[in-house]
């Protein structure tokens, strides 16, 4: 699909047309307060590295009420759970980073596939157009290229935006993105060469990532039974920080809560780091210690998701877990351990 350009002087007008008939969401706030918020077309910023938390909460909130009932016996339907439905309005996100867009595309295949469609996710996700902002200077914490992505990656995006001096370049990726940009005053321009050069420079600035192909090649059970997991998990606190901040972690727990007038069924983020995540009604826990729980997280990211999603890794290299982990467990180090040849005694 073609590229477009918006001159600096026309940016506010451009964002105004993006926001016509939709909510415009862009990163606002600094540091740990930086998050995607509804924004006026004149308030769009380019000076952030990334949002503190991943954008998954827009489509998969930490707490989401799914259905409710009332206990008013004078009405016809007491104690019957009714779907709370989907009240999301159409939106456009501008400024999502390619790592996070890729994360959303991975979760989208979990919530919408040929076996299941999650209506709560779908209602919000399908109504949102995603315009990414390429990372010309990736943060020190970033390693998207090592995970098979790119600071200029297109996965999960409808449009990729990138700075051309003070102007804004745009590359449309999906028909929805093309349609969106055509509604604006952006003019078509040949920026393919510019885009390629920018991407090469940004990838180079991340340094050479480790080749993770050995993980793809190794047998699942060999990886699973590798003795390194005990040491790898030893300093883990089993808190939920990595999973809550991860753009691709999507596990949840269903809870029923009652009040005097009725009740709700909600889903809340859950975390495989917690022993409660897997404990059975019998009291038996198939992941009894943190070794099994830590193994689950990294196997899921680096082996199970690639197996289920045509080789796409479940880690997008956003670096949040590395920086936010209270004890600095680094998925890159864990991946290296998973790449190591098996010790002879284990062969």
């Amino acid at each position: 699909m073609p590229e477009y350009i918006v001159k600096e002087s026309a940016l506010t007008e451009f964002f105004k047309s993006l926001a016509t008939g939709r909510r415009l969401l862009t990163p606002q706030g600094a540091g740990d307060k930086c998050k995607l918020e509804e924004t006026g077309p004149d308030k769009v910023r380019f000076d952030y590295s990334n949002t503190h938390m991943s954008p998954k909460q827009l489509f998969f909130p930490q707490n989401e009420n799914l259905m409710s009932f009332h206990n008013d016996a004078s009405k016809s339907d007491p104690f019957v759970y009714k779907d709370l439905g989907d009240k999301a309005n159409p939106a456009v996100i501008f400024g999502i980073r390619p790592c996070d867009a890729k994360g959303l595309s991975i979760s989208n295949r979990v919530f919408q596939n040929d076996r299941f469609v999650d209506p709560y996710w779908k209602g919000k996700f399908d109504k949102t157009i995603k315009v990414g902002l390429a990372c010309a200077s990736p943060s020190p914490q970033c390693f998207c290229a090592a995970m098979g992505g790119s600071p200029y990656g297109e996965a999960g995006l409808d449009v990729l935006a990138f700075r051309v001096g003070s102007d804004l370049g745009l590359k449309t990726i999906t028909p929805a993105g093309e349609e969106l940009i055509k509604q604006t005053a952006a003019s078509q321009a040949d920026l393919a060469g510019e885009l390629k050069n920018q991407e090469a420079a940004a990838v180079k600035s991340q340094g050479v990532g480790t080749d993770l192909k050995p993980i793809d090649d190794k047998d699942l059970m060999v990886l699973f039974q590798d003795p390194h997991w005990t040491a790898t998990a030893e300093n883990c606190l089993n808190c939920g920080v990595c999973t809550f901040f991860c753009p691709t972690c999507h596990c949840f727990d269903i809870q029923d809560e009652q009040s005097e007038k009725g009740g709700i069924r909600m889903r809340n983020w859950d975390t495989c780091m917690s022993w409660l995540f897997t404990v059975h009604g019998t009291g038996h826990n198939p992941r009894p210690s943190k070794t099994e729980r830590v193994r689950q997280r990294f196997m899921h990211k680096l082996k199970y998701i690639p197996l289920k999603q045509d080789g796409t890794r479940g880690c997008t290299g956003c670096g949040r877990c590395v920086v936010m982990c209270p004890v600095n467990i680094d998925i890159r180090e864990v991946a290296l351990k998973m790449c190591q040849p098996q010790a002879p005694s284990q062969a």
């Binding site: 930490q62 939920g240 920080v241 809340n268 917690s274 920086v323 600095n328 180090e333």
Partner: protein, 318 residues
């Protein structure tokens, strides 16, 4: 005050000796983090492992957290607060004193990454800790010196017990404590109405994700099953409902009464920068006022709220 590199080499030396002598099977210390402004807890079991141990301005997480229930002989690299936590765990029968060896490091306070990032907002790629009282942070086209006293963690600014005096050995000379917490803000808070206090604490935790990093980083939170994880019956809702979330923090705060050593691990671990210690500071002030007690300052004294005495002056308990 010896340089950080001297402390590092002395820790390594001591750790190697303890492993070689069979005094410890594992030495729990810190190694360099993989990103700037961090360290990572590290378990050294061989001489080669010991060469990875470091001491830095970012040795923040309280390693006593790894002690409860740990079998075998263990050596712990500990700041003043960490040693107090370990001693508290001995008095609470979580680990045998005979199995514990404390490598005490007289501390000068640890640095709060958030304060560093607030001072230098550009992406930091490297930290140099060459002098005792300052760090240099570097990135694309900048190199900024930051005075350590300007970026100390809140708890370190008011730490009167920086030297772990009850440790089995001290790495270097004792360091002077800071002026202790005067609790003036907490006293002002306690003078307010219940409604105002409720509003304060609700606002304090409004960003809480219930990831439980505070609890899991806390050396006092060693319950096999935390009350928030109980399912038979379930005591607490699981969402971020303000009352459920506040109940978690209030009960955790109360449960730590008279046991907290202000190590700040909870605040260091919190990913959304909640001042978790505010709950503990209220209970610590209360315990100090009522029983003149501070945790972890000797091997024998039990936390007052775990004790019963027939001559207790309070009427309700008789």
């Amino acid at each position: 005050m010896p340089a950080l590199s001297d402390i590092t080499s002395k820790i390594r030396e001591s750790a190697k000796k303890l492993l070689a002598d069979g005094r410890a099977e594992v030495v729990i210390g810190y190694r360099q983090g993989t990103v700037p402004l961090t360290t990572s807890p590290f378990f050294a079991r061989s001489a080669a492992d010991c060469d990875q141990l470091v001491w830095s301005n970012f040795s923040r997480i309280n390693l006593a957290n790894y002690l409860p229930g740990r079998p075998g002989k263990v050596a712990l690299v500990a700041k003043g607060c960490d040693a107090r936590s370990a001693i508290g765990q001995v008095t609470e029968n979580q680990i045998l004193k005979d199995n514990l060896y404390i490598i005490g490091v007289p501390c000068t306070g640890m640095i709060d990454t958030n304060l560093v990032v607030a001072k230098e907002t550009r992406p930091i790629k490297e930290v140099v800790e060459s002098t005792d009282d300052a760090i240099t942070v570097k990135g694309e086209g900048f190199s900024t010196d930051i005075k350590k006293t300007d970026v100390l963690r809140r708890n370190c600014q008011t730490c009167a017990n920086r030297t772990p005096k009850l440790a089995d050995e001290l790495i270097g000379a004792e360091t002077p404590g800071a002026a202790p917490d005067d609790f003036s803000d907490i006293k002002a808070l306690l003078a307010k109405t219940p409604a105002e206090r409720m509003a304060y604490f609700k606002d304090l935790i409004k960003d809480c994700l219930r990831c439980y990093a505070c609890r899991n980083a806390c050396p006092l939170c060693y319950c096999p099953i935390c009350f928030v994880d109980e399912t038979r019956p379930q005591w607490l809702g699981k969402s971020n409902d303000p009352m459920d979330t506040l109940t978690f923090h209030l009960l955790r705060g109360l449960h730590c009464s008279g046991r907290c050593t202000s190590c700040g691990a909870c605040e260091t671990a919190c990913p959304v920068n909640i001042k978790v210690r505010e709950f503990n500071r209220v209970t610590e002030l209360t315990v100090q006022n009522n029983w003149n007690y501070e945790a972890g300052l000797n091997w024998d004294q039990k936390p007052p709220l775990t004790m019963f005495q027939t001559d207790d002056p309070a009427d309700f308990i008789k």
